[in-house]
Symmetry: C2
Subunit: 322 residues, 2 copies
DNA sequence: CACGGGCGTGCTCAGATGAGCGGCGCCCTG
DNA sequence: CAGGGCGCCGCTCATCTGAGCACGCCCGTG
């Protein structure tokens, strides 16, 4: 090379050459060696041109997908929180009911995809889980286990109590369900209930559950069915103990450490240890009020996967990053 | 692997996994081997995931640049016509004067970039070349050669006749210019003029020109200064001979083959052979009426590089493709 | 129940690629 | 004018990557 350089280093010809090379490489899929031959450059030059093109923004790479699922955000949330799976919809979040419906549909799709005939499915009591059951159209043949007692709020139609049976019907597998409340007034009653044949039958299966679906509640009014069903004094006491999240009746503090209390003894349902032992717990969550609760549940290893909406997902990433 | 597959092949989890992998690969620049290890996949699986991601449109790669130059279109036109260089601006084409100004500026930038101290620059007579000269702010120190006589139209201010001197001043190199018309009434006068010291001095340098800038005219009213300066009979005769393009006084047919005629003898300027011998002739062209003229000039090997606007560039690609 | 097509998977091996290095010419400064 | 700094270039070598192939499983069919 004669090595006498002319004008500006980043003139239009350089720009167009770079664009040509980028086009050949990214759009036509040619190798750098081929491009080097075609343009009479060294392959190193081509590589540097392409590096420049990317760093200068001449080449833009976007990851996206037409549809309700924001795949890029899902991937980011998954990586940020170290989740097993993650689905984020970009549903507008101004209408809780439609939000729940969309998330239920997304969770149903996820479950259909994930569940194999080798799985054992556990279901928690939550409106979002019920929404998922409604949307579920197909599922591998697996046993379905009820993980907690029911908890209905007067005046609120929390939809069918038949969630476990509905899902089991779609799956074509056996259903392990029972009729009992999530919490009872005293430990003795709880123990008695746990000995009930149906309850005991379901509970004996909890250890074999490989995938579970649950909601996540925050310890605040309207943010947890359990909170709303608890007495004023107990709410306060549990709050004092640092309760931040409620997952299927399991209470944990901000670090995700289970908070033992009087209430723990009175619960009919899966324990913190059992839940942590489940290989994959999928939580369906919505509402930005639950940021800290979700983080606690994930950090505590209780929740492994998330189905949520973009506003909450972004808030989670922001909070987790800080 | 246990090899019992669950739900749908393209569920949300698959989508999000693909997005994660694509993000790591394209955005974070990790290698496929690293990604394979991170996600516990085989590197083949990663490669196939990435292939799917691109073919399904999950990953979109765009080449573009904020500015007046449409680099992507420039690259495409360059490849389609096999040009040495190409600059396409996306200036709106509804105002010829502003168009000429923009193209002049783009051409000036291109020239600044391309010209090295080893070059010898030739300039043709054209309004667009004049516009380039006006915009030129910097240039390597090179000799500047006038390639043709001048051709002014009455009532049209074709700007300075001093183009060659102006450019030479910016370059800081010697100027080889002369005052003579582009065409004269008879061959004898032309020969006499060519013997003029200044003319001969400039012409003797034509063989050493390494880069030239010119316009391209179509053989139609208002599309070529030479056409407009020619008699009715001659226009018709030349049209009959198939003249399609005029480049710096050189006339060629639709294939780019030079058309010899009576007029050829009466021209004061570079010949077709000489022009083809110039390593790079850069043409500044605008107006979709000149599609066929540009194609002829390029196919004939007279023009090697183009500075034009998007409308004409697209028309050229369309026409060349068909 | 045996067979064969289709699909997804991972292997081999040659060719492509990236990281880091030394060389060279330009430009700036003393 | 000499020396040093800097940016650009292309090389080497270890690693990465793609094309094609073979295997095993699933499923539908005779």
């Amino acid at each position: 090379m004669v090595a006498v350089r002319g004008g500006s280093a980043h003139g239009p010809a350089h720009l167009v050459l770079t664009a040509s090379v980028a086009r050949r490489y990214y759009l036509d899929g040619r190798s750098k060696v081929e491009i080097a031959e075609e343009f009479a450059l060294s392959r190193f030059k081509v590589a540097r041109l392409l590096d420049d093109a990317r760093s200068s923004g001449l080449v833009r790479i976007e990851i996206g997908h037409p549809g309700v699922i924001d795949v890029e955000l899902s991937a980011r949330l998954m990586e940020t929180l170290g989740l097993q799976h993650c689905v984020v919809t970009d549903t507008p979040d101004d209408h809780p009911a439609s939000l729940r419906e969309h998330l239920g549909a997304a969770a149903a799709e996820l479950l259909t995809e994930l569940v194999t005939p080798d799985d054992v499915l556990g279901l928690s009591w939550a409106r979002s889980v019920s929404a998922m059951a409604t949307a579920l159209q197909r599922l591998a043949t697996v046993p379905v286990i009820q993980l907690t007692g029911a908890l209905t709020r007067p005046g609120v139609d929390d939809s069918s109590i038949e969630v476990v049976r509905d899902v089991a019907r779609v799956a074509g597998g056996p259903a392990y369900f029972f009729y009992a409340p999530m919490a009872v007034p005293d430990a003795a009653t709880a123990q008695a209930l746990r000995r009930q044949p149906e309850v005991a039958r379901a509970f004996s299966r909890i250890g074999s559950v490989t995938r579970a679906v649950a909601g996540v509640g925050a310890w605040a009014p309207e943010q947890s069915t359990l909170y709303d069903a608890t007495s004023e004094a107990e709410r306060h006491e549990l709050g004092r103990l640092g309760v931040t999240a409620e997952i299927s009746g399991v209470l944990v503090d901000a670090d995700g450490t289970p908070v033992a209390s009087d209430l723990t003894e009175r619960m009919i349902g899966i324990t913190a240890e059992q839940m942590r032992a489940v290989p994959e717990v999928i939580a369906i969550v919505y509402g930005t009020a639950k940021v800290k609760a979700v983080l606690a549940a994930v950090r505590g290893g209780l929740v492994d996967s998330l189905v949520t909406h973009s506003t909450l997902a972004e808030a989670l990433i922001r909070e987790a990053g800080s």
